[in-house]
């Protein structure tokens, strides 16, 4: 993959039905380029949280994309993450 415009976002979200739709729906309707999604529930306190990893192909619009994502009610936190050592790099072997 070409790495120059790729960013990784690490989201903490409420784990209930509909969250994935809310996040992916936002990306679809604002035509943000989403290259990968990985989501699993996370253990710990408080319960009922999931971690969602997003691989996005956006540079200029990234700040706007983050603000829009933060506005989603079920999104608790958004952080930017390095591509290196991210879940996407580690799992690259499964996407060939």
């Amino acid at each position: 993959m070409s790495h120059d415009r790729l960013s990784v976002l690490k989201l903490t979200v409420n784990n209930h039905p509909g969250v994935l739709s809310h996040v992916c729906g936002l990306f679809a309707r604002r035509s943000y380029n989403l290259e990968g999604v990985m989501v699993r529930p996370i253990a710990g306190n408080p319960p009922n949280r999931s971690r969602m990893w997003l691989l996005v192909n956006e540079e200029e619009r990234l700040p706007q994309l983050i603000k829009q994502t933060e506005k989603l009610i079920d999104v608790i936190n958004v952080e930017q993450h390095e591509l290196k050592d991210s879940v996407f790099e580690i799992t690259q072997q499964f996407f060939v």
Binding site: G18, S21, H22, G25, Q64, K67, Q68, E70, K71, L72
Partner: protein, 569 residues
């Protein structure tokens, strides 16, 4: 000390079904009216509603129900509720919900859904309401148990009202409505959350920017109205002597005749309004989102100006323009703290220049003395009424003419579909305003095309004997489309003429209200006056020529400075 006779809350157990719980929670939210239409999947809600103090208004179409609730919300600022059944009931609501999203209106759409066991089976009247509502709401839910209602309903109100307001939708399967639940205590009603905290230093910096500017312009929009900040704004503008431009959604914040008011900017703004923006060196945008109908071609918007942007919605800042300074906050709070610390100032030179532009490039009001021309009709109606009336419009030329010349003098006096531009908005929104504020008369300016989109709601208005006057500027055409084809498609008129004319006065009578057709009136002015001043619903048909156009006009995608002008009379 607790008194066991009165303090029964903690030990009482309530046993009720999901739909009764829903209605109870809505009562506790202070809801007085629910607008809707029943059907198979929301029967339990309608059953529970008969045992409630809430008044139900039966609309004739779910889109009408959504817009009636919107009209109430726009008049009051409070969240309002509409009901629809599953399937077509829910899909009919979609337009009104999307419209609420674009104009930041706190609308709560509650729909019935098929039994959970049937979901996914293509059951009768099953539709993916969650999926339909998802992209057009601030948030939405499918409720999976009666217990969830205890959380979802207060949260729905909190979300609809907090920050930048907006619609939410709640889909409730029929088995959840019927599920029996025992509860000990009702949750606290949902209310608007605390506004985001801001740094007062930012306000100081904003005031500094204004002090250093030579030709500053204040640009204000719907956010000021939603924050209830019109008074604070007026003080701010006056103390700093700031010429002020209103967006379409902001009309009414400054009284129309105020010396600092420069009216509306953008696609159909007055020439001087758009030209002032060419010269200004600072734009302070407050509660605005720099919509394309306002800015025109963004790259050419205010070419000489720095932008300061105050808005409660974080994602609006930097979305269209890059401000040199931004404050993410409630505009009302920012204005209040600014008013406490600002030093009053005067800008005689800039004021003089603005006055010069205003005089040299005014809005040309062709036909303003002729009742059967657009400006004349609107100005005559306005002259017969006072500021107590509320105004709605539909979408098209008539909407722009009203925005240009109706003297709006208070916030929430005017409701119009700004962001989505939905034909069919005007009549049901007027019904909502009349229900919310029965002491005020409502005038709905409409076009013959738009009125047909929700004309069934005339019967709703008649049923409740509301004081609504539907004023049709009737060109028997889809006028605004005709105008665009005339200007941009070499007069190649396509599908804009109604070959079958409608007798609207007769239709009104058929729906149970008065109808007046000024085209056949011996004394049109007198008939208009008595129709307007009487109590009760009435349709007033005013024929105008289809060749009338809204000027000036900035071509879609064009720069605001490149206005197309009409003929001067």
């Amino acid at each position: 000390m607790t008194n066991p006779a009165t303090d029964t809350e903690p030990c009482t157990e309530y046993r009720l079904c999901g739909s009764e719980l829903l209605i109870k929670l809505l009562e506790r939210q202070g809801i007085t009216h629910i607008i809707g239409i029943p059907g198979g999947a929301n029967l339990p809600m309608y059953d529970a509603l008969t045992r409630s103090t809430i008044k139900h208004i039966l609309a004739r179409h779910e889109q009408g129900a959504g817009f009636i609730a919107q009209g109430m919300a726009r008049a009051t600022g409070k969240a309002q509720v509409c009901f629809a059944s599953s399937g077509p009931g829910a899909s009919n609501l979609v337009t009104a919900v999307a419209d609420a999203k674009m104009d930041s209106i706190p609308l709560i759409a509650i729909t019935g859904q098929v039994h959970q066991a049937m979901i996914g089976t293509d059951a009768f009247q099953e539709i993916d309401t969650f999926g339909l509502m998802l992209p057009i709401t601030k948030h939405n839910w499918m409720v999976r148990s009666a217990k969830e209602l205890l959380e979802v309903i207060p949260q729905a109100f909190e979300i609809a009202l907090s920050g930048r307001p907006g619609p939410v939708s709640i889909d409730i399967p029929k088995d959840v409505q019927n599920q029996i639940i025992e509860i000990e205590q009702f949750p606290e009603p949902g209310v608007r959350k605390m506004n985001p905290i801001f740094d007062i230093q930012q306000v100081t910096r904003m005031l500094e920017k204004i002090r250093h500017a030579e030709r500053p312009i204040l640009m204000i929009g719907g956010g000021i109205i939603y924050a209830g900040a019109s008074k604070a704004l007026l003080q701010f503008a006056e103390q700093l002597d700031l010429p002020t431009i209103q967006t379409f959604m902001g009309l009414g914040i400054l009284p129309s005749g105020h010396p600092l008011s420069l009216g509306m900017l953008g696609m159909h703004g007055a020439p001087y309004t758009n030209l002032v923006l060419e010269e200004c060196d600072l734009v302070i945008g407050m509660g605005v989102r720099f919509d394309d109908r306002a800015t025109g071609k963004v790259a050419a918007f205010c070419p000489k100006a720095d932008i300061v942007h105050v808005d409660i919605d974080h994602s609006e800042i930097g979305k269209i323009l890059n401000p040199v300074l931004s404050i993410r906050a409630d505009v009302g709070e920012v204005l209040t703290s600014a008013n406490e610390i600002l030093e009053p100032s005067q800008r005689p030179l800039w004021r003089q220049r603005v006055a010069q532009l205003k005089e040299k490039y005014p809005l040309i009001l062709n036909g303003q003395d002729d009742l059967f021309s657009p400006y004349g009709a609107i100005k005559t109606v306005a002259s017969l009424l006072d500021d107590s009336v509320n105004i709605t419009t539909d979408v098209g030329q008539h909407q722009m003419w009203v925005a240009q010349v109706y003297p709006f003098n208070r916030p929430r006096q005017w409701a119009s579909s700004g962001g989505l531009g939905t034909m069919g908005f005007g009549l049901p929104a007027a019904i909502g305003m009349a229900l919310a504020q029965p002491e005020r008369k409502v005038i709905c300016f409409t076009g013959d095309g738009s009125l047909m989109m929700n004309i069934q709601e005339l019967a709703t208005a008649a049923e409740h004997d509301l004081d609504i006057k539907v004023v049709i500027l009737n060109n028997n055409h889809l006028g605004l489309v005709r105008q665009q084809q005339t200007l941009f498609y070499e007069k190649n008129l396509s599908a804009v003429k109604f070959k079958q004319e409608v007798d609207f006065a007769l239709t009104a009578r058929g729906m149970g209200m008065k109808g007046v057709n000024l085209a056949v009136s011996d004394n049109p002015l007198l008939d208009l006056k008595s129709a307007l001043l009487e109590q009760g619903p009435c349709v007033i048909n005013i024929p105008i020529a289809e060749t009338e156009m809204v000027f000036p006009m900035v071509a879609p995608g064009g720069a605001n400075r490149d206005m197309i002008h009409g003929q001067t009379a």
